[in-house]
Symmetry: C2
DNA sequence: TCTCGATTGACAGCATACTTACAATATGGA
DNA sequence: TCCATATTGTAAGTATGCTGTCAATCGAGA
């Protein structure tokens, strides 16, 4: 029975998974922003651009499902990307409510140019670990994120992206 | 069957460490908030309370170093904790600039009561993994966060907390 | 066809998380 | 002592990330 130490020490924080996930996310964003400084693009904006490129003509709601990103927040992200002329919003011919998203030439060029920086950032995040440990961590994290998908407020729904192609198939 | 895959697929996002860290952080916060719903306390507020309890009379700047939390953001966190009467701010006798932070009786009681919920939340985050994998993931993550400490905008400085006890040593 | 429930984008509001800037204060060296 | 420099809390501004709500619109069933 440790009588000298306080009933609750900082270990209750430092060793908690939630704290480590928060710290790691902070670090990951800091590294990403630093590597991509020249392009003034955030991780979320990058993920949005990649998704729109992969699914041209996707609407905002489906995009939010594809990157597991809150629908409300995504509105302002799209706004900023449109302001920077990286994407275009066009009214849907079939549905007056939705606006379809497309990459502009400028956005496609940016995406092409930024890839080396993004890859450098992703590599830097794991660099302190031994190569074998990097693989292990990524595998466990992929597994955990997948198995916990429904626990998040905005579960990933990758298959939603296909719906705008037609719902027959 | 859709057309051929685009030059950049969503894998560029889904398999990136940064994306996995962001997802896992989202999930962790969602689980924490859900488990602690009855107490209306966020993860950051919880970490702040534990730190103030461990280091009574700490000031805001040092607190930010102890939980690796941005100094500016911490201001509003402290404000909210004070508004809920969980902590008190008292002017420092020696330094007119700083305000010292103390847990109130109400705050101490809350901290005592919320612990089971917090532990349930932390357990739930890793629950989908096998016990051995949980240990591995935590160990690798702890290592990675520590080795990447300087990469974050607000590096953890746990030893800073001791300074308010006197700088003679 | 008409109406009810669901969907969509927009908005307001709260809580992190960061940047820069600023005034008040403290500290160390000339 | 005086002054340059540093620290502290605060604030404004930007960007996630979530909760609600709302009007417009759509779709399905009576």
């Amino acid at each position: 029975m440790p009588s000298k130490s306080a009933p609750i020490t900082m270990d209750a924080v430092y060793t908690a998974p939630g704290y480590l996930f928060r710290r790691m996310q902070q670090i990951a964003v800091a590294i990403f922003v630093e590597e991509c400084k020249a392009y003034d693009l955030t991780p979320v904006q990058y993920a949005s651009l990649v998704s729109i490129r992969t699914h041209p003509g996707i609407d905002a709601t489906r995009l939010s499902a594809v990157i597991a990103f809150d629908r409300s927040t995504l509105g302002s992200v799209i706004e900023r990307l449109e302001a920077k002329a990286y994407i275009e919003r066009k009214p849907s011919p079939g549905d007056k409510r939705t606006k379809l998203l497309y990459l502009t030439k400028c956005g496609a060029a940016l995406l092409h140019d930024i890839i080396p920086s993004v890859e450098r950032a992703q590599a830097r995040m794991l660099q302190p670990l031994k190569p074998a440990d990097r693989k292990t961590l990524l595998a466990l994290l992929t597994q955990l994120v997948d198995l916990n998908n429904e626990a998040s407020r905005v579960p990933l729904r990758a298959e939603d992206a296909l719906e705008h192609l037609g719902k027959s198939g």
